[in-house]
Amino acid sequence: MERDMLRKLELLNQLRLTEEQKDDILAFFADREKEMETLEKFDTSATERMVHVMPITTVVREDVVSQPFAREDLQRGAPETDEGYWCVPRVVE
């Protein structure tokens, strides 16, 4: 069951774990599970979630175009490019 869950998490995050890493991670998960019990002692049903620590609102930007970066520079460190495109193995639709 837990190994199944890990397999899904590997797929979801494009990672491959060794058996030893899986053991470590499962132990890590078990510790975190215990910690959740500490959090559950706090009744937060009436507490609003806090995503941002500062209660400010978005400052929007005006719709103005500026293009200071050149494609050649952006692609300088690219593993593979062709005719101005980044390249990946063929993605079958």
């Binding site: 979801l12 494009q14 500490t38 959090l39 937060t44 806090m50 995503v51 500062m54």
Partner: protein
């Protein structure tokens, strides 16, 4: 022993080292990861630009643990730095040795504060939103902060003055008016609360540092009271969830397609992604990715992630309650003043436990100053006031 990821010659008297989470033009920024080996940014961090304008010359990039989530930098792809069996943090060592006047770092999971405490340096993690994060490698954006490390509180304060301020390029940047508050001359706090719940588990040396600091405060007419609080100590649990989830999302961009490391062998797109990430990422990072992903899964979102977001408010409110009666909170920055190689190899995830002391300021966005081997947390924008307390140490010559 490799302190610098890149070293830059300079003859300037005022020099800065920035850690490898801070983007620089022309020199690589790697976040301590094989994934970004040789990666050169096309733009530099706003904080760096501001410090250059203030007359600081860049003398190099300090090594950092992979995406800055470890104890002191030991997970860097360049290897850990050990001196006399003790782990060393590159930024702190560079400042201690005088090779740089100041270090600018990204405080993601407290490694900078632990390093400052263990090296006897002063550091300030400013109020969230007062220093632009533009040009920093994103990991846990809701709480990470560009921080300053130096030998003196005055230097920290001067540097904070140069880097704090509104930046249009950072949507979480506070208004110029609010940012200015961290620079204002404030009188030192008069009442400090020692968080007793946070002193459990510290070793003798840290306990001594705490006692020494309390004595210093008392000698200088600052009232110190012990208080009990069960909420602040849960910061670590909430922060580990929030940090890992945000990290998982932020490092998903490193996939071997656009830049950075690409695996040699693959036969389709998923293998390209998986092989590149598996080969380039270290173990601690992988654990954080997997854990973070799980906290956001459909089954766990409400139970784990949403709970952590609500706990963040509970923690912020607990701090607010304390600050009704006190000007600052005193607590350790780490459980010990030296991590040995043995302690670290015995517990791979020590960084997710030692952040017991650093998570409260990370999760709440409150300013934190480390000085004399201990940590002070204050109200939002009380940065300068906290540094005033740190100055007491210097006056006493301790």
């Amino acid at each position: 022993m490799k302190l610098f990821a890149t070293k830059i010659d300079t003859t300037s008297e005022r020099t800065m080292v920035v850690d490898d989470m801070i983007l620089t033009k022309d020199t690589p920024t790697t976040a301590g990861s094989k994934m970004l080996d040789g990666y050169v940014s096309l733009f530099e961090a706003e904080a760096l630009t501001r410090l250059k304008n203030a007359g600081y010359a860049l003398c190099g990039k300090a090594n950092v643990g992979e995406f800055a989530i470890d104890l002191l930098g030991e997970t860097s792809q360049n290897g850990k730095i050990v001196s006399g069996g003790k782990l060393i943090n590159a930024s702190a060592e560079i400042v201690s040795s005088g090779e740089a006047t100041i270090a600018i770092t990204l405080d993601v999971n407290g490694s900078v504060r632990r390093a400052a405490a263990q090296s006897g340096l002063v550091s300030i993690k400013p109020t969230y939103g007062t220093v632009s994060r533009y040009g920093t490698i994103p990991v846990a954006c809701s709480g990470e902060t560009v921080s300053v490390m130096a030998k003196s509180a005055d230097t920290c304060r001067e540097v904070l003055g140069a880097i704090a301020g509104h930046d249009d390029k950072d949507g979480t940047s506070l208004s110029e008016e609010l940012c200015a508050r961290v620079k204002q001359n404030e009188s030192a706090p008069r009442k400090v609360a020692l968080l007793k719940s946070m002193t459990v588990g510290v070793d003798g040396e840290v306990a001594e540092k705490l006692n020494a600091f309390i004595a210093l405060l008392t000698d200088n007419g600052v009232e110190v009271c012990e208080i009990d609080d069960e909420v602040i100590a849960t910061s670590r649990i909430a922060w580990n969830i929030l940090m890992s989830a945000e990290l998982c999302n932020n490092v998903s961009r490193y996939d071997g397609v656009k830049y950075g490391y690409r695996a040699q062998n693959f036969s389709n797109i998923d293998e390209l992604y998986t092989n590149s990430r598996t080969e380039a990422f270290g173990e601690l990072l992988k654990t954080a990715i997997i854990f973070g992903s799980e906290t956001l899964s459909t089954e766990n979102y409400m139970k784990v992630y949403d709970k952590a977001l609500r706990m963040r408010r509970v923690i912020v409110e607990a701090f607010a309650k304390i600050f009704e009666s006190f000007d600052a909170v005193l607590l350790p920055a780490c459980s010990t003043l030296a991590y040995t190689e043995e302690t670290v190899s015995a517990n791979k995830y020590l960084a997710f436990e030692e952040n017991l002391y650093t998570a409260p300021a990370s999760v709440s966005g409150l300013p934190a100053v480390v000085a004399g081997g201990v940590q002070l947390i204050g109200k939002a924008f009380s940065d300068s006031a906290l540094l005033e307390l740190a100055k007491l140490l210097e006056k006493e010559g301790k």
